[in-house]
Amino acid sequence: MVLSTLATSYLEPARRMNANGWAIVLVFLPPALLLFTVFVALPMTEAAWYSFYNWNGYGRPERFIGLTNYRYLIGNATFLRALVNNGLVIAVSLVVELPLALAAAMMVAGRIAGAAAFRMIFFLPYVLADVGAGLIWRYMFDGDYGLVATIKGALGLQPYYLLADKDWAFTAILIVIVWKYFGFYMMLFVAGLQGIDKSLLEAAEIDGASPWQRFRYIVLPQLGPMIRLSIFFSVVGSLQLFDIVVPLTGGGPFDTTHTMVSFLYYFGITRMRVGFGSAVGVVLFFICVTFAIGYQRIFMRDD
């Protein structure tokens, strides 16, 4: 009986909480709050603090330099290139990867023969560890011994070193990203497609709607929440891209294939400039938070 009183007091936010309500809050909140504080809030605050120092990672930070790290960051051509690269990944994810995933989902969502097998095949690249995928593709793209080289050799063409090409090396990374992640979004869309009410589609067919009209006016709107969610995951994941860059190009020929996180690792950590790396981390945090909050408020309001 007490529980039902408490339950109703939670479902009606307009009511003020009684003492029992507060007791429950005090019991259940601390563990989650502790985890969040220790693993999220504390590191972020510490990173912000470190970013004001010139620190090599050993001992305690001692040389306070204020906003100088941020000044270096804005003037750093490699970081600006990394921002552009991150933008490219987001653009390719939204324009190539998600439509590809949707097309694949449309093909394998039904109960046709072999649909389950194809779903598994398309999903397999996602299961692979990022570093493993990077190493495999590095071998494939190798100018002398890779798969691409063998094909070119068979056709009698000169070897082409994609990963050493300043302008096209990032395309290699984009190819690997699309290959790796489209399966995941395809599975999300399959789930979404299977949840669409069949009677809607049948009614439209009876009314004489073409397949394209059925897709545009019924399937897409019904998939709306799933698509918006996929875009969200896709953008946030693109901002955090790191694992594929390191084995494939290591930042690439002349630092042209860095992303923000790989820039943080190579220019902050391996060069023992942890304060500078922390500044990159703080910038990345603000970009991600701005996107996450803005996107949820504007596009996912009604989901």
């Binding site: 050993y58 050493a164 290591g250 023992m272 400039r273």
Partner: protein, 417 residues
């Protein structure tokens, strides 16, 4: 009932493991990939463990890049190795400044007197000894005698920079790849830049740059070194796709006889066979050594050398058995064995006499007669400026950056650190 049995079994296991826990463990972390060196070190550890019951010395290997990336975190955790491989230079100084190294000046004074002074001094920070060297190396051109003969190039005639460029042109004309370089990892390319700085600027060049004299790293020495490197690269002497070749791949290319020259340290001799496609590599008689050429109007001497001094540093928390093992390790008999098996060139005086391999002997003689020994620039200048030097060497060679812009970038990194 069941719980009591379990508890009893657990107590027995704990009791049996107590003697094992009383043993002192000494871990030594290193990056050495040369097989004779690793065999020798494991043997030394086994000898020590046998003669010192209650102590267990263990060598642990970590790959080069992983070692450099992991070490700062490891040294500040409980996982820290008691001793670890070091290239001395700026990184060692940063580690000492953070209070992570032990001052072993008093403990190893007797051992240090048996070693080459250049090597010993490399491991001193502000006068105190923090590590003991075991190896000194010289970077030189290793060349394939057969390919040289094929192109009509005589190694003895290559003394100056213009002779060298002429040889490169002759090799190219004969259809042979003149030089192989693992520029994918960047540090092999910085060997060229570092040697040019030494040949052009002489022994004071680096000290002046560090002290910010004459514009620091933007001074004429560094700019000219960049110009010379660009001059060489403009002849297109490197193997195809050199910007993505790793160091191991480049050793294999040399071992397969696909390129005439490789500017590298002595470990190439141990790496060229295992990394080659055939697995056999070049025979020792087919490999020759050529010193880096002098540059016209350069202040440096032909007898100046560039290369590494390697040793082990001792962690602050290391037990006294670690320092004791270091002294055991530094005995002349083991240094002689290192020389005899071509593991590395030892720094213990007199041990070079045991070197059998004529190539290693030539390097040891060069080092003994060296008028100035410059440590690898990417180690000497510390992790931040060092990496910029590596990046700039590749950028200048590939024509991505002008020599002036490269020198300015190095100066900027030095100012920002």
């Amino acid at each position: 009932m069941k719980f009591r049995h379990l508890a009893f079994a657990a107590a027995c296991v704990a009791g049996l493991s107590v003697p094992a826990l009383a043993e002192t463990n000494v871990t030594i972390l290193h990056v050495n990939e040369v097989a004779p060196a690793r065999d020798l070190w494991n043997k030394i550890a086994a000898d020590y463990n046998a003669s010192h019951p209650g102590v267990k010395v263990q060598f642990k290997y970590l790959e080069n890049e992983a070692f450099k990336a992991k070490l700062p975190t490891m040294l500040q955790s409980d996982d820290r190795p008691d001793m670890f491989y070091s290239w001395a230079g700026g990184v060692m100084q940063a580690q000492d400044k953070a209070g992570l190294l032990k001052d072993i000046s008093a403990d190893v004074a007797d051992v240090e007197s048996t070693m080459s002074q250049t090597a010993v001094n490399a491991f001193k920070v502000e006068g105190k000894v923090v590590g003991v060297p075991f190896e000194m190396g010289e970077v030189a051109f290793y060349y394939n005698k057969k390919l040289f003969a094929q192109a009509g190039v005589k190694a003895e005639d290559i003394k100056g920079w213009d002779d060298f460029l002429g040889a490169v042109k002759k090799l190219k004309a004969a259809g042979i790849t003149p030089i192989v370089v693992g520029a994918g990892e960047k540090w092999p390319m910085h060997f060229y830049y570092a040697y040019l700085v030494v040949r052009i600027g002489g022994d004071g060049a680096l000290a002046d740059a560090k002290a910010n004299k004459n514009g620091g790293f933007k001074n004429a020495v560094f700019v000219e070194a960049g110009k010379r490197l660009h001059e060489l690269a403009a002849l297109e002497p490197f193997q195809a796709g050199y910007l993505q070749t790793t160091h191991a791949q480049s050793a294999g290319v040399f071992g397969d006889g696909k390129a005439a020259m490789d500017l590298m340290g002595p470990w190439l001799l141990g790496m060229q066979a295992p990394n080659s496609a055939s697995g056999k590599g070049l025979a020792a008689e087919d490999i020759g050594i050529l010193s880096f050429p002098t540059v016209p109007d350069g202040k440096g001497k032909a007898t100046d050398t560039m290369g590494g001094v390697n040793g082990f540093l001792v962690s602050k928390s290391a037990p006294k058995e670690a320092v004791d093992f270091l002294k055991f390790f530094s005995q002349k008999k083991y240094a002689e064995e290192a020389g005899a098996t071509s593991a590395y060139i030892p720094v213990v005086k007199g041990a070079e006499a045991a070197i059998k391999d004529p190539l290693q002997k030539r390097l040891a003689d060069d080092l003994a007669a060296s008028t100035y020994h410059q440590n690898y620039l990417d180690q000497d200048l510390g992790p931040s400026v060092g990496r910029v030097i590596n990046d700039m060497s590749v950028a200048v060679a590939a024509g991505e950056k002008t020599p002036e812009a490269a020198a300015a970038a190095i100066q900027e990194a030095a100012e920002q650190q």
